[in-house]
């Protein structure tokens, strides 16, 4: 065990106090899952189940710890030394960054089924009761009197999906006419009233502060919000065309090796594909691949034409470079 961890544990035990029996001290192996911001509740459900399953299968007690943050911030932290064994992100690019740095295998998307995305979602709308502005699709969002709330694409993967979805819609609508697409996007972005740095900040603005007519976020998230804050006050609108938002997972091989967790990490990710886990995920309003579960939850997920980033924008790196980097399309559209 690395010196720093020993130190950390002994000092922490000291700090927290002997009365508080720390599970971290009692157990041998510990798996660190670095994940995106809004997945805290999700993994708080999954991890104990996995721990129990592992003990049953292998007779060994393990603990899964979570680190949450903006998906990009998390990737950055891992590059700077955060010793996460696995990543469960909401953006393919953030895993690619790790792959470029040699922390994740090059062919990580082939390592697991469905491009290494155990679940997926899309971008949907949350509107206020009775949908007073009559918002049904992306082109309703460019109306003059509509105020839009979604997180800043510069700082949030969630925001990036929204931007790409709107672009994808416009691309179809105007048949690839760049000028019209840009006009559409410019109007769309001008309707944004608050650019919070993250998805949850945007939610707070929309719900708690009562700002805007529509909140755009992951389908899973808007459904969760609606059940959290009252199904009577809000409505979920899933537009007929939207974007495929994959939630990629990968083993951070050097870290897992160093921590002696390679087997545990791999099993943990595979565990996400099991039927009961998939059911749990669907319960959190994520779309899943397991057929039995898909059938079971068919009512919950309307049929939607899901555009793939690769199809519309070539590839993730291309989309990032053209649209989001400093001086890219986003900056151009927002310039005055």
């Amino acid at each position: 065990m690395p010196l720093s961890i020993v130190l950390r544990r002994s000092l922490l035990a000291l700090a927290v106090g002997a009365t508080l029996s720390s599970p971290a001290v009692a157990q041998e192996r510990e798996l660190l899952n670095s994940s995106y911001d809004i997945a805290r509740e999700l993994f708080a459900e999954i991890n104990p189940k996995f721990e129990a399953w592992w003990e049953e299968e292998h007779g060994e007690q393990v603990e899964v710890s979570q680190s949450h943050g903006g998906s990009s911030a998390q990737a950055r932290a891992i590059m700077q030394g955060l010793r996460a064994d696995v990543v469960t992100f909401n953006q393919v690019t953030d895993v690619n960054v790790l792959a470029d740095a040699g922390l994740v295998d090059e062919d990580w998307q082939q390592a697991l089924d469905n491009n290494a995305s155990p679940y997926y979602s899309t971008t949907a709308f949350l509107v206020r009761k009775d949908n007073p502005k009559g918002i049904e699709n992306w082109d309703d969002l460019v109306n003059e009197d509509v105020e839009v709330v979604f997180p800043n694409p510069k700082t949030s993967g969630n925001g990036r999906y929204t931007y790409l979805a709107a672009w994808g819609f416009a691309d179809e609508q105007f048949d690839g006419d760049e000028e019209q697409i840009q006009d559409f996007m410019r109007t769309f972005l001008a309707n944004v009233v608050v650019f919070d740095t993250g998805g949850r900040g945007a939610t707070t603005s929309f719900i708690e502060r009562g700002i805007g007519d529509v909140l755009i976020s992951f389908e899973s998230e808007v459904n969760n919000i609606r059940s959290e804050y009252g199904s009577d006050d809000y409505e979920v609108i899933v537009p007929p065309t939207s974007i495929l938002a994959e939630f990629p997972v990968a083993v951070v091989s050097p870290n897992a090796e160093r921590n002696g967790n390679t087997d545990l990490a791999q099993s943990y990710l595979e565990y996400l594909y099991r039927e009961d886990t998939q059911r749990l995920l669907a319960g959190f309003n994520y779309r899943v691949h397991h057929e039995a579960v898909v059938d079971e939850f068919a009512d919950q997920f309307p049929d939607t034409d899901l555009l793939k980033v690769e199809d519309v924008f070539g590839s993730w790196p291309e989309a990032m470079e053209t649209h989001f980097e400093g001086g890219g399309m986003l900056d151009k559209l927002q310039r005055r």
């Binding site: 690395p2 010196l3 720093s4 961890i5 130190l7 950390r8 000092l11 922490l12 000291l14 700090a15 927290v16 106090g17 508080l20 720390s22 971290a24 660190l32 911001d37 809004i38 805290r40 509740e41 710890s65 979570q66 680190s67 949450h68 943050g69 932290a77 590059m79 700077q80 030394g81 955060l82 010793r83 993250g198 949850r200 900040g201 939610t203 707070t204 708690e208 919000i225 959290e228």
Partner: protein, 275 residues
Amino acid sequence: MQRIGDAPLVRRLLITAAVLLSGLFLLLPLVAIFAQAFSQGVSVFWSNVSDYYTLHAIGLTLMIALLTIPVCLVFGVALAWLVTRFDFPGRRLLQTLIDIPFAVSPVVAGLIYLLLYGRNGWIGGWLDSYDIQLMFAWPGILMVTIFVTCPFVARELIPLMQAQGSREEEAAVTLGASGWTTFRRVTLPNIRWALLYGIILTNARAVGEFGAVSVVSGAIRGQTNTLPLHLEQLYQDYNAVGAFACAALLALIALLTLAAKAGLEWRAARREAFA
């Protein structure tokens, strides 16, 4: 005795304005924190506070504060002694340098430590080869906390020690006292209240630092999550009550700090009155 602005009307007007504005601007936020924290009753507040991860965050936060204080204390006293008791080229520069943490945005403070001690940094990389990890572990949190809090003790001591001058110490030296004895028996009793005040400020900041710590912590629940980070996570998880419960704890620490400070000032004033 009359002074400028003693006319009853002016006086009443100014006091009212000051009290009203501070009430709205400073007191109301404080009230709001506790109102939100207890908005769903004491039991909900309590269950949020006694949550394992919250307790762990409290423990970690207090530990960081406890480790930060002695370091800042030694540095603050040494620097104050240096710049108030000796004259040497670069004295003013040294005094400006300790203001750096005030000038650096906390996020940047975290960033510069990450760049140096992270795995890609030149010190961090070297340490990594010996399997020593500073960032995303408590030593990193401690380091940036020391960075942002180090000016407080020195800044409290310097003006006081400058005003007091060094005559008393010189007297002690002429009477044959050693350096350590001079400091302990002559200097320390004169500066102890300022010192304590500096410690209180250091503690308040160490407990509450957010920006810098968030960059280097990794925010692992139950491991590297400090109370302010935990608060932010709860806020993000739609657990506003939980977030404000943490906020209330931090505000409580702030209030204790203020009370301790007011107590010290009261004591000092009383000592002066009877001196």
